[in-house]
Amino acid sequence: MVFLNALPGAVAEGLIWGLMAIGVYISYKILDIADLSVDGSICTGMCVSAVLITAGVPAWLSIIVAFLAGAVAGMVTGLFHTALGIPSILAGILTQLILYSVNLTILGGRSLIQISARNYSLVLNMGNNPMAILAAVVVIAAVIIGLWLFFYTEIGLTLKSTGDNPDMSRAQGVDVSRNKVIGLAISNGIVALAGALLAQYKGSANINEGRGAIVVGLAAIFIGLSVSLKIKPNFVVSLIGVVGGGIVYYLIYNFVILLGLKTDFLKMLSALIVVIFLAVPYLKKQYFTKQKPLRMSPVPDEEEKGGEADA
């Protein structure tokens, strides 16, 4: 019964995290980059939205500005990686650290800003879950349609191929570095957009919010794709699956709280979900696959995507 009462709230928050997971999907699944800057950019989205709202800017406009702020953060990570040659994972960590200072500055040195629905007109808030769900669904639908249109354009296709096979992309005249920057900008823009929604839903922006967001995003992706890929492996279905994964994640989260797990352990739980989803396919391949019978024609290994130029 308690669980049922918590259901609308879990769905609303799950949708917002699902939207964030779409951002992570773009970097992790499409570009093949584990981008840790999202932990910072989701908080940037929250801070930007909250500060703008307290300054009297319309809530919907603050969401758009949050998107742009996140996009800039993503570009910084992208340029660290492509123009300065920093490994992508480290580039993300560096941006994340930079964003902590940036976010503090945005909040004006405070660690928390309240934007209560009683004082401000918000796009969504936790006081009205049905409306919050509706608003989140509308934003998510707009994002998915936008991404669907974009990723099937001539330019969008090369973004997909950049992550799928950089060698092939370069051979076909694709500027792989530029595409990574664009992709990370879109990814972090969406993450920050989700952050803006989250701040309004919770009624506050907190400097410590967003830690481990990448892990939640990955969990949502793995949960979502484990189902959606079985239905139909196409782009839009995958994105919807990822949002669904976000909702399922939050339902599990709420359920575990109800079971009496100390909230201290929630981050560990998120991490363990990701560990399980990453480990199971590996262990299956490693220990549970029988050796194939000898083949007459040699076929090269498919394990490495890149590879050194052979001299």
Binding site: Y152, A171, G173, A311
Partner: protein, 265 residues
């Protein structure tokens, strides 16, 4: 067409692993030349193709394509002039994308890409016709993910992608080496058809001397980072494997024995 002067490249310079892959290579290709390239392991064949493609910058020397100095042009810009097929069938196509999407990306090689629909209905019709010419039954599988195709099919699609937008120069880096003999023969047959129908200037590395003699109008043999044998026209038509071996021994000053295992008859 292609003019290479004094090309040099050493990998890992200054270390114990230093390896000079190209040592002052000169090569001029005429328009429409179909050149087969042979040579032992480490002769610099792949290095030559990678240098032309711009995978890295050479230490010394220049590369000119149709009068344009491309020595310092980045790989993705140079791609406008080049069609490439790699030895590894996994390297030339995006496995998680549809055949049609792969072809669509290739169709815009060297052309400014825009925010317009990537695969239009009219494109699909065109791709269907092109795929039909491969005679592999791929024309009905436009929406299939390339990763589901066999190595031979992927190489054939890569060939199509490399030539969809007529390249000034086609670079084939032992593109049949990873295939079984029957598939290799088929892919080679398709290659020859595409090259001769479009009169493409082509550099094809092969480890198979028989193929090197059979295909193309010109044959070069590399040794220690240089071209040591260059046979063309009528002279090439009369070439036999034994003659080739003698030519190699005479020009490189070394016995062929070491390389016999690598160059198969």
């Amino acid at each position: 067409m292609l003019k290479i002067t004094g090309l040099e490249k050493t990998f890992n310079p200054g270390t114990v692993n230093a390896k000079t892959a190209l040592s002052g290579l000169d090569l001029v290709l005429e328009d429409g030349d179909f050149v087969t390239v042979i040579g032992g392991n480490g002769a610099g064949k792949s290095t030559l193709l990678n240098a032309i493609a711009g995978v890295w910058k050479p230490d010394y020397g220049t590369i000119e394509l149709d009068g344009v100095d491309v020595t310092n042009m980045p790989e993705h810009k140079r791609a406008a002039f080049l069609g490439r097929v790699f030895q590894d069938p996994m390297k030339g196509t995006a496995p998680d994308m549809e055949i049609a999407e792969n072809l669509a990306i290739a169709s815009k090689r060297g052309i400014r890409r825009r925010f317009v629909w990537g695969v239009k209905r009219s494109d699909r019709e065109e791709y269907k016709k092109l795929l039909a010419t491969l005679e592999l039954g791929l024309e009905d599988r436009l929406s299939t993910k390339v990763g589901l195709l066999s190595g031979g099919q992927r190489q054939a699609v890569t060939l199509l992608m490399a030539t969809l937008n007529r390249p000034k120069l086609l670079l084939l880096d032992e593109h049949t080496a990873a295939l079984d003999p029957k598939t290799a023969a088929k892919v080679l047959h398709i290659t020859n058809k595409i090259v001769s129908e479009n009169k493409l200037t082509t550099l094809m590395i092969t480890h198979n001397m028989h193929d090197a003699i059979e295909y193309g109008n010109r044959l070069i043999m590399m040794h220690e980072g240089r071209v040591v044998v260059d046979v063309r026209g009528e002279e090439k038509k009369k070439l036999t494997i034994d003659m080739l071996l003698k030519l190699f021994e005479a020009s490189s000053g070394s016995r062929f024995g070491d390389d016999k295992a690598i160059l198969s008859k």
